[in-house]
């Protein structure tokens, strides 16, 4: 197949992407630089600098996204590793269990946590029944609740690529290292972990960027005490409605995401070189 027929095949998708995705983004970016009747303006960005509260919400979002991503890696990596060691049938069941939440609405999953973690919820009743606590532990309506909820929703995004990379690792590589006298810990860190690193990095990045735009979980499990950028954008777009200000914040969010992505690409290229 020559290059031009290849392009013909991809053209419809390209047009769709440009019209349905790229043009609206450009329009959104442009909004921040435009004031009706005035033309070009930078006042919406100046407004951001003068009242840094919106930027602080962005900082808070980055911090919570980082915590949720770390929690995700801490749970997801051992889980994917454990799944690799399972037999064929057990592995299928495990994958099904990881993927299953994808079929349940994110809203339902998020509300389910209220039943599980609430003051009168399963976990708290269990803890009190076991005599471990006297008063209910406050799991919900704080950063802990938001982190748990986000980790739950995003886990498949990390586990699936990681698991795919792990089952591709040739067992003979590990056996060769063992036959040369390497203890299990050395095999893991010198052979196994480096082979999973590209997938781990890609999955982590994906999870982190998805965290940045999370709306439902902080709104439901945060109890209004965990300000995140998409909830602020909702206020600015739907209630006030200052679309220009929202556009300026979105632009900064987009730049932050792109910078993180660029940093990842740089690391990735260095690693493969």
């Amino acid at each position: 197949m020559n290059r031009s027929t290849g392009f013909a095949f991809i053209a419809p998708l390209l047009v769709l992407m440009i019209v349905a995705f790229n043009l609206p983004i450009l329009y959104m970016l442009g909004l921040a630089f435009w004031e009706k009747g005035q033309g070009f303006t930078l006042e919406h960005y100046e407004g951001l600098l003068e009242a840094p509260v919106y930027l602080r919400v962005l900082g808070n979002t980055l911090r919570i996204s980082l915590i949720a991503t770390i929690a995700n890696v801490a749970i997801g990596y051992p889980l994917a590793h454990w799944m690799r060691g399972l037999g064929r049938r057990a592995r299928l069941v495990a994958i099904a269990l990881v993927v299953l939440p994808f079929w349940v609405s994110i809203l339902v999953r998020t509300y389910a946590w209220i039943v599980v973690l609430g003051n009168g919820g399963l976990v708290n009743r269990g803890l009190q029944w076991l005599g471990l606590t006297d008063a209910p532990v406050q799991f919900l309506y704080n950063e802990l609740g938001v982190t748990i909820g986000m980790a739950n929703v995003l886990l498949p995004f990390l586990v699936l690529p990681l698991f795919a990379a792990m089952i591709r690792i040739d067992d003979r590589l590990l056996q060769a290292a063992a036959s040369l006298g390497a203890p299990p810990r050395t095999i893991f860190w010198k052979v196994y972990f480096p082979l999973t690193l590209p997938a781990l990095a890609a999955g982590t990045l994906l999870v982190f960027i998805l965290c940045l735009g999370f709306y439902v979980t902080p709104a439901v499990l945060g109890g209004g005490r965990v300000p995140m950028i998409s909830n602020l954008l909702d206020t600015l777009i739907n209630q006030i409605p200052r679309w220009e200000q929202a556009s300026a914040i979105s632009t900064i969010l987009l730049i932050v995401a792109l910078l993180i992505f660029a940093g990842y690409r740089r690391l990735d290229r260095k690693a493969s070189a």
């Binding site: 919400v57 003051n119 300000p227 739907n238 209630q239 006030i240 409605p241 679309w243």
Partner: protein, 340 residues
């Protein structure tokens, strides 16, 4: 002269077809965006069903109704939606942004209405109150000084995640009487909120949250919309110091004239006290007719925002103040939320 031949004669004497079609046509179906839930059902039962029975005009409802949606409707060109529900402060904002049109009160020809409901740009159709409530069995506060006194009245609170609601209540807790609330002393209000924020478990966004949180025993006290808690034996409540507010239905800018002719008919139905009594049977909020009280179930008068005993102890929302100061206060609110 029969009506039909009169119309013909009138049509013949009109010079242009444009005016002719406007005078003649009246849509058989118009669209409305309202706030949803039981409130939407009350519009259906109270006003749309009677309109349909009388005139055959149907009104199709959608929800929810945020100001952002209205802006998107207008800026993207005529959407086919004629009526849009807005809060009292939002009517002023929408007017300033040029998103709504003037009402033709002569064409509506309403029955008697409270004056604040008869706005140039909106029909105030539903009074609602924001009040204190608690789980049955808690100590019962009599005013907002007591409500915010977390030592004497121990328990977690849930408050609205909106400065419009929280600031005036916080000022009452600081001892400001309800007739001296506006202009709001914003700094004093935030000072008070900072004192009690550790006892606020949840800042709610949706009106369904506070009753559920109280039932789950996540919180024991709430500031919430009266319609969500009255009549439920699980809750105690008090209208003292509450906020009375009015929701409006406005006309979307650029609406077709034949749709507006149908809308005036709906507005007329909304002004009739017997229809308002039907709506109040669905949700315990009240319409703008001064003659409504007599038509409501007398043993339930204490549940309604505008019954005499309740109207006297509440303050009324000051939409003008919020239109001037809302955005600045909102920034302070976001900063406050970051400090939680």
């Amino acid at each position: 002269m029969k009506r039909r031949s009169f119309v013909k004669a009138a049509a013949a004497s009109l010079p242009t077809f444009g005016i002719l079609s406007a005078a003649r046509a009246q849509s058989k179906e118009i669209r409305m965006i309202e706030s949803g839930g039981l409130s939407g059902d009350s519009i259906q039962v109270g006003y749309i069903d009677p309109l349909k029975a009388k005139t055959g005009i149907n009104v199709v409802r959608e929800s929810p109704s945020s100001l952002g949606k209205l802006r998107a409707l207008v800026e993207s060109g005529q959407s086919g939606t004629t009526l849009f529900e807005l809060g009292s402060g939002v009517v002023l904002q929408a007017k300033k942004l040029g998103l709504i049109e003037k009402l033709d009160w002569a064409a509506i020809n309403p029955a008697a209405m409270f004056p604040e409901a008869k706005n140039e740009y909106g029909f105030g159709y539903q009074y609602f109150s924001t009040i204190m409530a608690w789980r049955k069995g808690q100590k019962e506060p009599k005013n907002f000084v007591e409500f915010f006194d977390t030592k004497a009245f121990p328990g977690k609170r849930t408050l609205p995640d909106y400065p419009h609601y929280c600031l005036p209540f916080a000022l009452q807790a600081a001892g400001v009487p309800i007739d001296k609330l506006f202009p709001l002393d914003v700094d004093l209000a935030f000072k008070k909120l900072n004192e009690i924020k550790k006892d606020v478990a949840v800042w709610w966004k949706a009106g369904a949250q506070p009753p559920q949180l109280m039932k789950d025993n996540e919180v024991q006290y709430a500031i919430c919309w009266s319609g969500r808690v009255v009549g439920d034996p699980a809750f105690g409540l008090n209208f003292a110091g509450g906020k009375a507010d009015l929701s409006y239905i406005a006309v979307v800018k650029g609406s077709k004239s034949e749709d507006k002719l149908a809308a005036w008919k709906l507005y007329h139905e909304m002004s009739l006290p017997e229809n308002q009594a039907k709506a109040a049977g669905v949700i315990s909020y009240t319409g703008p007719s001064p003659d409504l009280d007599a038509l409501l179930p007398q043993d339930k008068l204490w549940q309604f925002p505008t019954s005499k005993q309740n109207k006297a102890v509440q303050y009324f929302e000051n939409a003008e103040w919020w239109a001037d100061n809302g955005e600045a206060v909102n920034k302070k609110w976001e900063a406050f939320k970051l400090s939680l």
